[in-house]
Amino acid sequence: MGNPMKIRAAAKDGITEVKVLMSHEMETGLRKDASGNTIPAWFIAEISAKLNGKQVMTAQWGPSISKNPFLSFKIKGGKAGDKVAVTWVDNKGDTRTDEASVT
């Protein structure tokens, strides 16, 4: 499940700018722990967003995205009160969805 995301969405001049912070380790699979064992890769592999239930953004990520990822993207349209939902799925199949209102 992971911890909640922080989502901010603001509409201006017909464009909604969405900023998302996600809580995730984003392990590369290249690091070793204190016993010398490789820490398995663990990262958000897919992220998507919906505006009022309609899919507006999809992306695939690799382990090169920073820990506790930040993402900002822009949607055409949207107005105050609209709902933006963001979903991530990691390479272990864990997923989390959070929602915010456009301001």
Binding site: K6, E25, S66, N68, S72
Partner: protein
Amino acid sequence: MTRRFAVGLATCLAAAGLVAGAARAEGDKTIEGIEAYREALKDGNPAELFEAQGEELWKKKAGPKNASLETCDLGMGPGVVKGAYAHLPRWFKDTDKVQDAESRVLTCMTAIQGIDVSKYVAAKWGSPEKDELNAIATWISGMSKGDKVAVSTAHPKERQMFELGKRMFYYAAGPHDFSCSTCHGQEGVRIRLQDLPYIASPKGAAAGWTSWPAYRVSSGQMWGMQWRLADCFRQQRFPEPIYGSDVTVALSMFMAATSNGATMNTPGIKR
């Protein structure tokens, strides 16, 4: 032989001087680049994720008494969090001690929730217990963002704590005869690209005090001032101070009171 050596040395120094000059010009450009980098990080500080966790922990019922921390008195009255961090550390009547945010939270966990905090105190940095304390401190600090630092040294115990902190700041010891002031006791120095604030000056004290707790991008961890100070001790090759102990609160008191009037910019983000 001696003469040739001297000439050689002079040539060498001249060349070094040139290199230093070039390095300085290059350095200014580098610093501009670093400034742009730091600016880009400000929008979307992952510390927000920890603030949310801290708020949740503050409001969640926990411990043998199954109580939340919502009645905790951080110095502005029971349950008042807004603005509290900007007035800390301060003297508290119930404990007759000067406490910072983190040691005060331990008091509240003990008194209100009935939690035996010794395992929180002893827990390693990065452990779930310390992560909880860091998250709570992060949230409390965020509730003073934009406020002016206003730390009192009027009470005798506060004054005493300030003086102890100042003494600790200049106290040199350990295998390398280090003190806090070795790195933070003068203007305009840095280690690699890290500026070292002159903590004994109001500007330098503010640069440190008003930006912690901070999210550290290097480790992806949230650090409160207690952790930051423990790391200073480690770098000085001192024994690690006990979490929330007087010496740590004293150093915070020295920094906070020296930065009085500066604006809280917490939680921060650092390399």
